[in-house]
């Protein structure tokens, strides 16, 4: 269970949100919605612990995430605007180094399988910078099938994806939720039925 208590965040003298509280339970998909500049990314980054709120706390299973980082990060998968892949390394290298960092051991065959699943057959050894934006996105997304994390925090995961890619991602979101996982995602396109049931959380733009 991921819980935010009384979060306040301000950027450039503008309060994005104040006293924001929300609870996401296992087997739940929270769809965070709001206009540009409403603070969706800021909220997600606070929920991951990458940035700290002006006030308030984030709790995972009742424990403050700043107190028990390792416990939380073992269960967290965050995909932000930036793909987190190095352009001069291949998809395969990027993923295997990432897995080593996150202390997940996966046989190489599984890596090939996942890359095939996301539609990157034959491109495993190509430096990521030569791939298209959508393909780079797919490399980043393949982490969803590799790290057994309970909490997914996805910032605009559908950007640059084609129709098939969107469908694949929505299906995997539904599967994750049915396995008892927890997802928080933002998107400017409404989620389709493939993504399963979801709760909408609106973030208003404040002046």
């Amino acid at each position: 269970m991921l819980e935010a208590r009384g979060l306040t965040c301000s950027k450039q003298d503008r309060t994005l949100f104040e006293g924001l509280s929300l609870v996401v339970k296992p087997s739940e998909l929270l769809y965070l919605r709001g206009p540009n500049g409403a603070g969706k990314t800021s909220l997600l980054r606070i929920l991951t612990g990458l940035s700290s709120p002006d006030s308030g706390a984030v709790l995972y299973n009742g424990i403050d995430i700043s107190k028990d980082k390792t416990g939380y990060y073992q269960n967290l998968l965050y995909l932000g605007h930036k793909s987190g892949t190095n352009g001069s390394l291949s998809a395969l290298d990027n993923l295997s180094f990432w897995l080593a960092q996150h202390n997940v051991s996966v046989p190489v065959n599984t890596l090939y399988d996942v890359l095939e699943k996301v539609g990157l057959v034959g491109l495993e050894d190509v430096p990521v910078r030569y791939l298209s934006a959508g393909q780079q996105r797919r490399v980043a997304l393949s982490r969803l099938w590799l790290k057994p994390a309970k909490v997914w925090i996805l910032d605009e995961p559908f950007t640059a994806l084609d129709v098939k890619g969107v469908h694949l991602l929505e299906t995997s979101m539904k599967e994750h939720v049915s396995r008892g996982g927890l997802i928080i995602t933002t998107s400017h396109q409404p989620l389709s039925e493939t993504a399963g049931e979801h709760r909408v959380f609106d973030l208003e733009y404040r002046f």
Partner: protein, 221 residues
């Protein structure tokens, strides 16, 4: 593959795939050192007098060029975020990255140093002292530089600020290093200067990883 080995291997791979960035500071260093005799005077005595200073100044300036590479790409492509969310202690990650950076940007300089010493007519004693100061001093450049890179990595044009932050910090190192080589030229002992540089290095090795980790966290905010 252990956690830290993985980071080290990755950084080495990335460095060797970006060969231009790897060679650029070395070319700069070579150019500065070869232009000095033409600009100042090619007389062997003058070169021997200014030699140690020229090599050290060129090393510091060329290291500034390579310094940004330490975290810039990782910050821009989001790898740094993923490091922070991996649960690994960030100071240890920073230390490994600094070690990899030192290996690819300063070890080639150490390998070039005999050539530079010959260009500038250094004696064997002076050259030994120069190598010792470089061995102790360049890891210090990497460690302290990394703190400043961590602080400026989120800025658009961080390079100028980086130089402004670092040059004053490097001045003591430059003074002690060149004074050690000068002492060697006069056949005097230079243990004291080496000891001071070593002390600075040990202090930086103990505290810099934490400062780097903190500065990276600040840049993420």
């Amino acid at each position: 593959m252990s956690l830290y080995q993985g980071i080290f291997k990755r950084d080495m791979q990335v460095a060797f795939k970006q060969k231009a960035e790897l060679v650029q500071p070395l070319m700069f260093l070579l150019m500065v050192v070869t232009l000095f005799p033409l600009g100042v005077s090619p007389s062997p005595d003058t070169l021997q007098r200014i030699g140690p200073g020229v090599i050290w100044i060129a090393a510091i300036l060329s290291s500034l060029m390579a310094m940004e590479r330490l975290f810039r790409d990782d910050f821009q492509d989001g790898s740094l975020e993923q490091y922070m969310l991996s649960g690994m202690p960030l100071p240890a990650v920073s230390a490994v990255k600094v070690a990899a950076h030192w290996l690819v940007s300063f070890v080639p300089l150490l390998l070039l140093s005999p050539l530079l010493a010959m260009f500038l007519n250094l004696t064997v004693d002076m050259y030994i002292a120069l190598v010792l100061t470089l061995l102790l001093g360049t890891p210090l450049l990497s460690l302290i530089g990394a703190i400043a890179v961590g602080l400026t990595v989120g800025l658009q044009k961080g390079g100028v600020l980086l130089a402004l932050l670092l040059i004053p910090v490097f001045i003591p190192l430059l003074i002690f290093a060149t004074s050690a080589v000068d002492s060697a030229a006069l056949q005097l002992p230079y243990h004291a200067q080496l000891a001071i540089i070593a002390a600075m290095l040990l202090l930086a090795a103990a505290f810099a990883p934490f400062a780097i980790a903190y500065s990276l966290k600040v840049s993420q905010n």
